[in-house]
């Protein structure tokens, strides 16, 4: 994992995107890892009984996967200081080998000192599944960028 590059970060800087495939297997793995055993995440008949179109992914699986865009970029996940998402739409996962693909993208939306706020988008079937998703990371050094006085900004060695 490469070190965080502080130079050149501007509002609007795009992070490398990520596509993730959610299959029933992944949902079961996540259920066990997260101890979320709500049957809507593995049982078709239960999900339909409560009015869902089918088995849906855990919102927290989508949230956790979306943050990989940020932690891949920043390198050290310990730099994440806050993370918020709104769950706007369920991700339905079919019972087949392919599952469903969710595409994640992110860009810098605010910079203040060493704190960088990243806006994240998550798209499945051409629809947003997360709303107002924001992660804040502390890069540990003041980020020089156009909107700031850059003369005294420290440099990453």
């Amino acid at each position: 994992m490469k070190a965080t590059v502080v130079e050149g970060i501007e509002i609007g800087t795009q992070l490398p995107p990520l596509a993730a495939r959610f299959t029933r297997e992944r949902l079961v793995r996540y259920a066990g890892a997260a101890t979320d055993f709500n049957p809507i995440h593995y049982s078709e008949h239960f999900a339909r009984q409560v009015g869902l179109p089918g088995v849906i992914a855990q919102g927290m699986l989508t949230m956790g996967t979306a943050l990989r865009v940020v932690t891949n970029w920043v390198g050290d996940p310990g730099r994440v200081t806050s993370y918020f998402v709104r769950f706007t739409r369920p991700v339905t996962v079919p019972d087949d080998a392919d599952g469903v693909e969710v595409q994640f993208s992110a860009s810098v939306v605010a910079i203040e000192g060493s704190l960088v706020t990243i806006g994240i988008e998550a798209i499945c079937d051409n629809q947003k599944v997360l709303g107002a998703a924001r992660a804040e990371v502390d890069l540990g050094v003041r980020v020089p960028h156009r909107d700031h006085e850059v003369r005294d900004a420290p440099r990453v060695p």
Partner: protein, 141 residues
């Protein structure tokens, strides 16, 4: 009686201490398909959303509180925030304690927001999980 706005401020006793282990971190990172090297090796830290594992028993207290008459079958997770003072690390022994922040009664449903504070046994605040749930009231049969 069901949940009301007057339940805002209700605090539940801290859950049993939870020890963060390298094995559980590895399992959680694998479930996210995340190969970040900080989740492996000598002294792994936990993925930020690992806090959900520690919050789970605290949320179970909320949804299991008979006075509130909440049912998980009728709950939708509306939003989620995590705030970190520092990452969770292998070997941390932490406790989770839940407080109901706000209850808003709406037509046919309640919006319940709650915070789970995660701290060390020495009372060092580590992180918090704040969630809003939409709970549909039972429709009369």
């Amino acid at each position: 009686m069901a949940i009301t706005e007057a339940h805002a401020g209700r605090r539940y006793p801290a859950c049993d201490p939870y020890q963060v282990s390298a094995a559980k971190i590895a399992e959680f990172a694998a479930a996210l398909g995340d190969d970040n090297p900080r989740y492996r090796g000598e002294s792994p830290i936990a993925p930020p959303t690992f806090a959900t594992v520690i919050s789970a028993p605290a949320l179970a207290q909320l949804f299991g509180d008979p006075e509130l008459e909440l049912s998980l079958d009728r709950v939708v997770h509306a939003d989620q925030r995590f705030s970190f003072i520092r990452p969770l690390r292998t070997g941390d022994v932490v406790i989770a304690a839940l407080t109901i922040d706000k209850v808003r009664l709406r037509t046919g449903s309640e919006m319940v927001s709650a915070t789970v504070n995660i701290s060390s046994l020495d009372d060092e605040a580590i992180c918090s999980s704040h969630a809003t749930f939409l709970h549909a009231r039972k429709t009369p049969a």
